[in-house]
Symmetry: C2
Subunit: 542 residues, 2 copies
């Protein structure tokens, strides 16, 4: 017996319809690529997205076609997403920080036919376009006044392109499982893999993201996604904000501490989201120049483990609540948020910081388990770590073209590649990546935990722990450190600082000072390269 | 091109799995039918629901079978729902306040095979059971110690029934569109019609209900559903609370002001929900006996228009936020909640009360429009009223057995039978039921607005406005009033009180004092009966 309820497909453009109807005047404020601030709202964004969908259709774009974007967070990029997906085509975000060869490889893999690109990246794309035969047209996200000279195929300014269509258009109709978007993983552990979101997964994901114990997004919020739309599905902000009727404050290309501070304060941002590196830059800027954050209520920090020093500064110095979050491109991306459940309401001081340094607990629709190598479930005791596996309607069932099939098992569990433990109340903490785990004498050591402690030392700018071959223990941890400008700590200072904070046998065997630690295009430490770089290093007793 | 995300069906029992895993210790506190308070939690509720599902399967219950419940809100009723739906059978809630013949008719219409019933209703069901041939077994929601003598077929105590199965059981697997529950409408405008919820609709509905601008449910909430589970799908609390990890405080049979006050305060309830009548009883009790509501943050009021006097008392006297909500059995049931959007943040005093007396705005997934008789959309100007039509994944596509087909149109819109206007920010206000609309000289008069004003008069206990035939205007409003004990207002007092508050031509032509106004089984004014009762009344100038 089936229910007798309506077949109302979960499609992304209905989110924008809702925003335009019930929160039509709510602002979308952007720092434009051309310079000035630009103000619009959901009602206008929807009209322009409809025009764009019509224009794309006139251009021969069809259901399932991949249309790429390489752009900062602005209203035009937002409109592009909805224009593309509202036609049943697939927005495919490109990360401009990848190597040009990687970008070309990804575009060819996805067979992108059109590309929306910011002025910033025109030169970059001019070098890539000739290597992407499927690319037949490039729309530059600007107006005619700012159009550059360019060799790009079919180049046209976004505003002119839009003006060639009216808004007398109805969103296309299709099954909710239709592909809506595409994003490749960051490539921290190897080559990026293509993830294909459906309309359904994006909608369900946004419906969980806005919930009170997750981002708690309401129509009173003004959210600034500093995380770019090209990182892990833009952390869903393009869907969760209009769904909740929250204003969006778009930082454009201004990703430095000063620009972010200006946008946060001038635009009275209440909630913002980015990777730890961004917040480090903001905090450094504020430490130097002063200032406060009177409107900002909460900051979502994810993409990499959030060092305690950041949490402490936001909380104690600026009165901002830190929400540590964990996600993956493959999870749309939100997996967990570290909001405080009643069981932990009474925590204070260090105990509270301990909790907030966990990655948090999942919303309804995300299932998790932690297993050993034989796929046996491990206890939720807050210390036994193993492979973290997940399931849910916004979790990948496979990668594009069937790559990485071994990460998916028969019961539908996806192996995240993260190593984690869970506590009795379902708080998850990542201790490592599977590929970065250090195995000393058969036991695992958490590199992330040591790194997070090490960056708490006043002289340390960045820290990474990698495993180095050891004759007796098979592997031992090595601490690699970038020191802050003008500081000259001794190895013993740093190790002494760790003493008592970690188990004796976790203590790194040595410290190596380097000028720079290699990063991925999303700003994460690239341990593969670091291990490669230090492959000739030999431990003191090795 | 389809997305490559997991096929993770939206089924109701996954909500309980989530609650048991991530909010397992969160309390479910009930005033038991036997008397004492009973405390359990989501982890235990889940184990018992699994046992129940297994026990039902042993009893031959199959996918799609209708299993009825006639019970107050207790942990056992909650377990019954999940035990039934977790097997793929259909919980069918019966309203014990209907006439026995209506109950028998409904049970036969649904072909209920089993029934879970509270001790309170054993006698009632004994009279009905012989008329329901499909009913083969009755489980009485108590333990052996409290089992009554009964002639009911296969009668067994719930605890004994449960004990006959272990919890080694996996939830059944089926499509998310499978029927999960069944509820008949209240029968205000005619015979009750069967609504069949799917797993998908219940899950999506709960995902919207918990959102910040809706009920804003979090793991810190302790929600008391005073609204019975047999009213309009229990207002979704059986799903939204475990989804959010909110505690449930179940009032059992204690629906009087004193019992409710005791539960609210002793169990530190933060949010509660019921029809206006319940809140009138509570407020009367508090006015008489004193007391305050220190933990209660918000009260959800729906099912009928909420008189301003109630809103004012909660807000000004007890510091509790009123959330006026509108819903229908056919909408799972939530349609709108009157939370305050930024546009209205600055309202105060009467202007704020005006806003809060609206039924509110819908969440994402509820589409609304207001049309005239020719299905032309009317402007959203806050005054032009017409037929309210809705669409969404948790809105009925049809009634059971195809009844009432004229309420559904080809584009999927469901005619709610309510008459309403919308304002520019999407706030909806109900002015009438289509069947109760008063048409004076071709123009519509809102009976609900006049009623809500009239009950603001100090001597008025209850008020209803109906249309009465008029030679010149075709229909004119008549105000029917029940006065408070010991009061003897004059007609002119009451009309004078309305003067200046409504348009001159809305002023009722007369006032009739009656001892009682007829109500439906859900406590709503039954205007059909009232018109019948006053059919011989003639207007002063009629
Ligand atoms: N709060 C966090 N704490 C620790 N690690 C995090 C956190 N959030 C995300 N991560 C890490 O980021 C990963 C997801 O990142 P993303 O999807 O951008 O690609 P990637 O895993 O870095 O790259 P690739 O999968 O191509 O190797 C997670 O699997 C996890 O390792
Ligand atoms: N906040 C509210 N203000 C005014 N009316 C409301 C409110 N909430 C619900 N209602 C009324 O209740 C109706 C839904 O009630 P329900 O589904 O219990 O059955 P019913 O409409 O009373 O009965 P039937 O459909 O069988 O005639 C709505 O259509 C509306 O008329
Ligand atoms: Mg990865
Ligand atoms: Mg009705």
């Amino acid at each position: 017996m089936l229910g007798l309820m309506q077949d109302w497909p979960l499609v992304c453009h209905k989110i924008l319809d809702h925003a335009a109807t019930y929160h039509g005047g709510r602002e979308v404020v952007s720092r434009s690529i051309e310079g000035p601030l630009h103000r619009t709202n959901y009602a206008e964004v929807r009209v322009r997205a409809l025009k764009l969908a019509k224009r794309l259709e006139m251009d021969g774009v069809k259901l399932g076609d991949r249309v790429a974007t390489m752009a900062w967070n602005t209203w035009r990029h937002l409109e592009s997403w909805y224009g593309i997906l509202g036609l049943g085509a697939v927005y495919h975000t490109l990360n401009p920080r990848l190597f040009p060869e990687q970008i070309a490889w990804i575009m060819n893999d996805a067979e992108d036919s059109l590309l929306f690109v910011d002025l910033t990246f025109v030169k970059l794309i001019e070098a890539i376009a000739p290597k992407v035969p499927s690319l037949r047209r490039v729309i530059i996200l600007t107006d005619d006044a700012h159009m550059p000279e360019t060799s790009l195929p079919g180049a046209v300014s976004y505003e002119t392109y839009l003006a060639e269509a009216d808004d007398d258009f109805a969103w296309a109709e299709f099954d909710e499982r239709t592909a809506a978007g595409m994003c490749y993983t960051s490539g921290t552990t190897g080559d990026p893999k293509g993830v294909v979101y459906s309309h359904r997964s994006n909608v369900l994901h946004a419906m969980t993201a806005v919930q009170p114990d997750m981002l708690n997004l309401s129509s009173h919020d003004r959210l600034m996604p500093v995380v770019p739309l090209f990182h892990a599905n833009g952390w869903s902000t393009a869907f969760s904000c209009p769904m909740a009727g929250a204003s969006m404050i778009m930082p454009g290309a201004g990703m430095d501490g000063e620009s972010i501070y200006q946008m946060l304060t001038r635009e009275r941002v209440t909630i913002t989201a980015a990777v730890p590196t961004v917040w480090l830059m903001l905090l450094q800027r504020m430490e130097k120049e002063g200032g406060d954050l009177p409107d900002l209520e909460r900051v979502v920090i994810g993409g990499a483990a959030c060092p305690r020093a950041i949490t402490r500064a936001f909380q104690d110095v600026y009165g901002v609540k830190v929400m540590h979050a964990w996600g993956m491109t493959e999870m749309s991306p939100l997996g967990t948020v570290c909001s405080i459940k009643p069981e932990y309401d009474d925590l204070e001081g260090d105990a509270k910081l301990d909790l907030l340094s966990k990655q948090g607990h999942p919303p309804f629709t995300v299932e998790m388990k932690v297993t050993d190598d034989e796929n046996r479930e491990l206890p939720w005791d807050g210390k036994t770590f193993g492979k973290l596996k997940v399931r849910g309607p916004a979790v990948s069932a496979s990668y594009y073209k069937g790559r990485g099939a071994d990460q998916f098992d028969a019961e539908g569990w996806f192996d995240t590649g993260d190593v984690a433990h869970m506590d009795a109340h379902g708080y998850m903490q990542i201790t490592d990546r599977s590929k970065d785990v250090i195995k000393s004498g058969g036991e695992w050591i958490s590199s992330i935990e040591i790194e997070n402690l090490a960056v708490g030392h006043a002289d340390v700018a960045e820290a990474a722990v990698i495993g180095v071959a050891h004759p007796k223990w098979s592997e031992r941890p090595l601490l690699v450190v970038v020191v802050k400008e003008g500081r000259t700590p001794l190895k013993s200072d740093i190790l002494g600082f760790l003493d008592g904070k970690i188990a004796k046998w976790w203590m790194p065997d040595d410290v190596v000072f380097v000028a720079e630690i290699p990063h991925t295009a999303t700003g994460k430490i690239q341990k593969m390269s670091l291990r490669e770089q230090l492959k000739d290093y030999v431990l003191p007793d090795g």
